[in-house]
Amino acid sequence: MRSSLILDTVTRGAFPLVLVFSLYLLFVGHNAPGGGFVGGLTAGAAFVLLYAGGGIQRVHEVVPMRYENVLGAGLLLAGVTGLGSLVLGEPFLSSAIVKWHPPLLGEIKLVTVLFFDIGVYVIVVGMVIALLTVLGAYGDDPDRMPSMVDRPATTRRDRRGIRRTRQ
């Protein structure tokens, strides 16, 4: 895929801004519109922008991880947060609230369900990266079929007994 200079330059500036906004959405989600899913989608949009500017290589430069690991890490964090309350004898997903008064910043309220939300955020980002990796590789190079559906070559004889290799 040919990268576009203008898009690539804009992306370099916009990408961190969109990510910061997505983190904002993630953190205000407890009491205001937002949350892990919405924040994750916003961050996902940033990665799509990155992909549109510089192809899948750019995305992999920024997140040098296999998408399986990103997805797995998010799901693990969300699941373990839920199970943690069970270990402490509370119902699944019960949350503890910690209030904290640092100077100048006023009150900071930390709710453990935030970790669940972070897990959701990571899952959504991982899903977008998975989509870009699997389907995007095809967009980069139409000769290469999506790797998820590649099939090993098989050899079989046709009706006349001639060996044919099928892809």
Binding site: G72, L83, P91, F92, S94, V113, P152
Partner: protein, 503 residues
Amino acid sequence: MIVLPIAVPLVAAALSLLLSRWRTAQRAISVLTCVAVVVLATVILFEADANTAIVSQLGGWPAPFGITLIADRFAAIMLLISSIMTVVVLVYALGQLDDEREFRLHFHPVYLVLSAGISASFLTGDLFNLFVAFEVMLIASYVLITLGATRGQIRAGMTYVVINLLASTLFVAAVAFIYAATGTVNMAQLAIRLAELPDGLRTALGYLLLVVFGVKAGIFPLFFWLPDSYPAAPAPVTALFAGLLTKVGVYTLIRTQTLLFPPGGGSSQVILIIAGATMLIGVLGAIAQNDIKRILSFHIISQIGYMIFGLGLFTLAGIAGAVYYIVHHIVVKTSLFLVGGMIETASGSGTLRNLGGVARRAPVLGLLFLTAAFSLAGLPPFSGFVAKLALIQEGLDLQRGGIVAVSLLVSLLTLFSMTKIWGGAFWGKPQDVKGVIDGTERPLTMKLNPLMLGATTVLVGLSVVISVAATPLYALSERAAETLVDRQPYIEAVLGPDQVALP
């Protein structure tokens, strides 16, 4: 405690993704998790049976504001039998799937998510989370049904995805209507509030949910997607879908119709007519087919008619019969598909015309198939006989002669189509499609994978256990039906003792 059958497979799916380069670790995680869920489900069943129902409010928010999980006896029975199926089918899949499908296409994490979705569908206590559970289950099933992405699978998968998306849209719309009319989605509270609605509105909402779950369960006339899409998937996936997924639809159908929309006094004529039509059309479709998987797929539909028959009678014995029938059917249907899958894997085709002599090439398959097939048709002393006897007796007691006659005729036709598979695949001259393609002489005895054979044998053994232990199992089904017919224990378990539903 009852959240564990949902949470544990999800965490295991995460680990499985993280360890997706270590094949042995992935296999170990899947097997251990599925076995752990069976253990959990057994404990839950014993506790639910002793205490009528166990309830958990997620996050400690009280019902009806929070998310309620509830395992009454019916849910616990379904949870146990479905978790046993996931273990057996997993072992079979380890023997059947090639490395490509099993590891590169992420069979293991998706399978665990499917298992979590199924558990969640049984355990949820509110209508919206039932929708969420269905989606978790369905999205995993979309991946599994197209696992390998052959041309036929993509085509069949499209039908499956489109139909299920339509049904899900209708479902979420129905939940919105119900919420608009009653102001709650908690099922226990709905049981109270729906009774206060005008009759017309209540009936309309009831039929809307009947259509939604009817599509998922594959009842007449909404079954058309089923025999088209199921046979395309890999054998273990088809077996699990055939055994379990439509039965999740039947479970929710029974749950919502008994808890939320009980017919005022006596049986439901509409449901009985649907039941009769489902039985008859399903079995007629099966007779017309020439492929093992397709014949068996049509049988799913016909068998679902029997379960709906029990629901339609709407008496204690009728619903107990339906519960017992579901358990019997899940085991027997899955084992038939597993046998069919073994024939197909070993000889390269499931079309009856291309098969022959399996009984001579692999006598053990013949034995397994006959046991399961006789049970499906309802010959004594197999488990299908007990299940059908219970339903037919109750039908006669209530003087529903028409539906009883239909169900007897359908049993006969079921037996007929089973003999068709037997005659086409098991008897006759040994044939082998793979041998024809390779141009090689193939040995007379079929080579069977020990994992696949072991899993299938265990399952057929379980169906024998179900017929031998019919007395205690039927008693358990009756106790499950008691809490379905008398809704008070369910409502009290969720909302507390001072809530009363109108009759």
